[in-house]
């Protein structure tokens, strides 16, 4: 079946199997491999992307369900080579080690700041419960998001 949507501002259209997950569509059909797969039960959040501006787990959505949607992946966060404050925050505060959970964590962080521009530490932890990290112990991820919140982290992403 045919699926047409916009990813990082670029219109995409492909013939896909109905069972194809959005995450596999993004990674294998479109070739944007920054979005990762870390589990098969929707727990880990490594696959988090923005769908019509909302953070969603792309492993739990069929590509067909994203028909006509605006998707933003980690590759679409920076604008004209300028990192988004969330990306800067993760760099400044050592919010990543192996980096595998990071794209999903950043996209979830984006969704959190859209809903709550000045979250407390508790609100950050609560807001990121759906994203697992095995490396950092989360402390610097919280610090990264706090930094982003103080440095324009609610700045909207990429191309409209």
């Amino acid at each position: 079946m045919k699926v047409s949507l916009t990813i990082n501002g670029v219109a995409r259209s492909h013939d896909v199997e109905p069972r194809l997950l959005l995450v596999n569509y993004i990674r294998d059909v479109v070739g944007l491999t920054g979005t990762h797969i870390g589990c098969d039960t929707s727990q880990c959040g490594a696959c988090t992307v923005l769908l019509n501006g909302q953070a969603v787990k792309s492993c739990t959505i069929l590509a067909a369900q994203a028909e006509g949607a605006r998707i933003t992946t980690i590759e679409g966060l920076a604008r004209d080579g300028q990192l988004h404050p969330l990306q800067e925050g993760f760099w400044e505060k050592h919010g990543l080690q192996c980096g595998f959970c990071t794209p999903g964590m950043i996209m979830a962080g984006y969704g959190l700041l859209q809903r709550n521009p000045h979250p407390t530490e508790e609100e950050i932890r609560h807001g990121l419960e759906g994203n697992l990290c095995r490396c950092t112990g989360y402390q610097n991820i919280v610090a990264a998001i706090q930094w982003a919140a103080e440095h324009g982290g609610t700045q909207p992403v990429g191309a409209p």
Binding site: R27, T33, I37, D40, E75, Q97, T102, L132, G137
Partner: protein
């Protein structure tokens, strides 16, 4: 020679420099295994056994082969004459080990539910996965045994003809007679059985491998989610596939965490190599998370019976440990050695115990293989000794901090070797110092006062305290070979200065989150007095690099970083000789500071690093007899391991209604020697503590009696999430190690090693008014609640 003694300034070492790895990782640019896309790639799915123990009567792959899009299907019969079993590279040293064959694809028997039975290669991963369902296997199901104590008992199902009684090895160390006497004649004896539960490492990236065979050159390339690609290369080439060593290239791309699970040799690495040659196409395998849980190695899984004897005033006189270690269905690459050397020889921890006896049984069961997982033996050792010290303190009604202090190895005792335990000497330590810093930083007296107040209100508040010493920076090659490891454990480094003054530093370590591209660049840049941006750290590819042993055992800085220092210093000598020659003075008349070689006492007469690099490349104005180019390779074989140490303290409150434990304060004081990048070391400690808390409160791999993994997904195997761990308050003392030029001890595993008993101790302290002595981990709300109910019935 320590860095501080070298003539180059120290500008970057010691600074929290932002990571060079991050720009690509925060923009989705990192290339992990599944991100590498080669044209015409075929995809592999592997059929695992549905039974924990069964004979294979027959396998019919015809329907699978007939599925459109399936290219080939192989079984054990196809490989048994051309592919050797996966070797165990570290049997337990000094004893007989009953090694057992571990076939890449099972031939006659399957022994756990992750055992590989067949492999399909197809046009897409979906077709390959669909084809698995079409493979018909006729099994004769056999009874299974999952518990190591049950596996050792008479009448237990036997897994291997080669291992009667399911025993791999029976290993001892220490003084049995002296320890028995000490315990027999003791004023106080504490006895306890502990279960150090099985854990699933769960790096966020699962494992996989991709292979390509070039028929023209005869070279096979394997990309692998590996912590040690050179080691995998030699094991595959020399032991499994029979490929000439110079015709196999192994590459670790970006690797998404490992924690030990990616050290080992796995069947899928061989399977993709075989299929790449058979099909003439690149072949890729990526395990699902479910497969990762069932197939990839697990950690821990000890049953320990421990006795500790002491005087009535709290001085420990004896320690006897009898441990049954579950090794799983086969031997993973270093499993027996980890249990014997890294656990068995470390049971006495930071204490001066005069009589120690350590006895271990390594046991086969119908479960996933168990091998090193962050801490690798030291968490199992630290947990038992710290819990025993707490039980002793409770028995004697003494403060657990003071019992520890009383028994610590003293600063003047170093280098210290626990008596008769066969361990290397502990290099350096000031254990009481970290204890004091931790007590002060946590406000221990105030915590105890708060606890009294809380108890008066009927609240369950506990304080946990644990001290540790651990062994890392592995290892002197001669010693580790005696301990059973079949190779070296030195590390290699190659430093090449290019014509334009840029430096390529190639390391044999293999980072997967530890930030070596940053910290090693800091070290090398300071060696030459140049900027971070002028140094490129290269790792992970066996082609064009000297053999490296990889990253695990908190060795990369202590051993790999030290090799880089040595290689840099060799190059520096040449730089100085060339500089002297260009300046027309004798070599002893120059010094190297601030990135230039200058004539001593004559400001302004100098040649910069860049000028010398260019001269070396041009090759025409070199000292007589000197060859052009600036490059050196060094191998650092450490004279000893390193022994970080510290004390952690935490406060926990338990909800009386639900049993739920909440950590309300966590203080960590660690001594890892001088720190190259404090931000990166702090990150390692945070992550390590979180994993140790995972073991204490949340994680546990569970099999049913039929050998089915019940905790088979992240729903049931609950690694900590953001709200499951508190903030960690970190501090450090610095006691350099005398065993390497950096003085570094290694920091990657310390957090995991000590946080588990710290948190368990706190929970047990909280429950002590209810008369509860010990509960096995994980201390979930349900487990605590049940224990509270049971206690209240009495």
């Amino acid at each position: 020679m320590a860095i501080a003694e070298s003539p180059t300034e120290t500008k970057l070492v010691g600074q929290s420099v932002k990571r060079k790895e991050d720009p690509r990782l925060i923009t989705g640019g990192g290339q992990y295994l599944d991100d590498i896309k080669l044209p015409n790639t075929a995809h592999v799915a592997i059929l695992h056994s549905p039974h924990a123990h069964a004979r294979i009567r027959s396998i019919d792959t015809s329907a699978a082969r007939a599925l459109p899009g399936v290219i080939d299907v192989i079984t054990g019969a196809d490989l048994k004459d051309s592919v050797n079993p996966l070797p165990c590279a570290m049997p337990a040293g000094g004893v007989e080990n009953h090694l057992v064959p571990h076939r890449v694809l099972a031939v006659d028997k399957v022994r756990f539910t992750g055992d590989n039975v067949a492999a399909v290669v197809a046009e897409s991963p979906y077709i390959a996965r669909d084809a698995l369902d079409l493979i018909v296997v006729d099994y004769e199901v056999l009874p299974a045994v999952v518990d190591q104590e049950k596996a050792m008992a008479d009448g237990a199902p036997q897994l291997h003809d080669e291992a009667p009684g399911n025993i791999c090895m029976h290993w001892t160390a220490g003084d049995a007679e002296g320890t028995d006497a000490a315990i027999k004649g003791a004023e106080v004896v504490v006895r306890q059985r502990f279960r150090n539960q099985r854990l699933i490492p769960t790096p966020m990236e699962t494992r996989g491998a991709m292979a390509r065979y070039d028929a023209g050159t005869g070279e096979t390339t394997i990309w692998m989610t590996s912590q040690a690609p050179h080691v995998h290369k030699i094991l595959l080439a020399a032991f499994v596939l029979g490929i000439p060593e110079h015709k196999l290239r192994c590459i670790a791309p970006e690797v998404g965490g490992g924690f030990g699970a990616k050290i080992f040799l796995y069947a899928d690495m061989a399977i993709v190599a075989v299929l790449a040659k058979r099909t003439g196409r690149p072949v890729k395998y990526v395990e699902t998370r479910s497969e990762n849980y069932v197939v990839t190695t697990h950690g821990r899984d000890h049953i320990q019976d421990v006795e500790l004897s002491a005087t009535r005033d709290g001085r420990i006189t004896g320690l006897r440990v009898r441990c049954m270690a579950n090794l799983g269905a086969y031997l993973s690459t270093i499993a027996p050695g980890v249990v014997a050397t890294l656990f068995g020889r470390m049971v006495s921890g930071p204490y001066k115990i005069p009589n120690i006896f350590s006895e271990i049984y390594g046991v086969y069961t119908n479960t996933a293989m168990v091998d090193a997982y962050r801490g690798a033996g030291r968490p199992e050792a630290t947990y038992l000794i710290e819990r025993m010290v707490d039980l002793l303190a409770a028995e004697l009604k003494m403060d657990p901090a003071e019992v520890r202090r009383k028994n610590f190895i003293q600063p003047q005792d170093f280098p210290y070797t626990p008596p008769k335990l066969g361990m290397l000497p502990y290099d350096s330590g000031e254990y009481a110092k970290t204890l004091d810093v931790a007590l002060q930083k946590s406000g221990y007296a105030e915590l105890r006062r708060r606890q009294e107040e809380a108890r008066a209100q009927g609240r369950l508040v506990g304080i946990g305290l644990a001290s540790y010493v651990e062994i890392c920076g592995v290892a002197p090659s001669a010693w580790i070979q005696k301990e059973g490891w079949g190779g070296p454990l030195y590390e290699s480094a190659q430093v090449r200065v290019l014509a334009t003054g840029k430096v390529i530093a190639t390391t044999g370590t293999s980072p997967h989150g530890q930030g070596h591209e940053t910290t090693f660049a800091q070290i090398v840049a300071d060696q030459f007095g140049i900027g971070m941006d002028d140094v490129e750290v290269v790792h992970g590819d066996s082609a064009g690099a000297p053999f490296g042993l990889g990253t695990y055992g908190s060795r990369s800085l202590a051993v790999g970083g030290s090799a880089l220092v040595k290689a840099s210093q060799k190059v520096r000598e040449k730089i100085m000789a060339i500089g002297a020659h260009l300046l027309e003075v004798a070599p002893e008349d120059v010094e190297y500071t601030g990135g230039a070689v200058s004539v001593k006492g004559t400001p302004g007469r100098q040649k910069t690093f860049g000028e010398i690099a260019m001269a070396a490349w041009l090759g025409t104005s070199l000292p007589p007899g000197m060859e052009g180019q600036l490059e050196a390779t060094s191998v650092f074989d450490p004279p000893d391991c390193t022994f970080p140490f510290g004390t952690h303290i935490c406060e926990v409150e338990i909800d009386r209604e639900t049993g739920r434990p909440t950590i309300t304060r966590y203080v960590a004081v660690d001594d890892v020697g001088p720190v190259i990048n404090p931000m990166i070391v702090d990150g390692q400690v945070h992550g390590g503590i979180a994993q140790g808390i995972g073991q204490a409160l949340y994680e546990g791999a569970v099999y049913d009696d039929n050998g089915q993994l019940l905790s088979g997904s992240m729903t049931d195997y609950t690694v900590p999430k953001t709200t499951d761990v508190p903030r960690f308050d970190l501090d450090r003392t610095v006691t350099p190690s005398p065993v390497n030029p950096l003085g570094s001890k290694g920091a990657g595993e310390t957090g995991t090693i000590v946080s588990t008993p710290t948190v368990v101790g706190a929970v047990m302290d909280a429950l002590s008014p209810l008369g509860i002595r010990h509960i096995d981990m994980p201390l979930t709300a349900q487990t605590i609640w049940k224990a509270m109910q049971a206690a209240q019935k009495h």
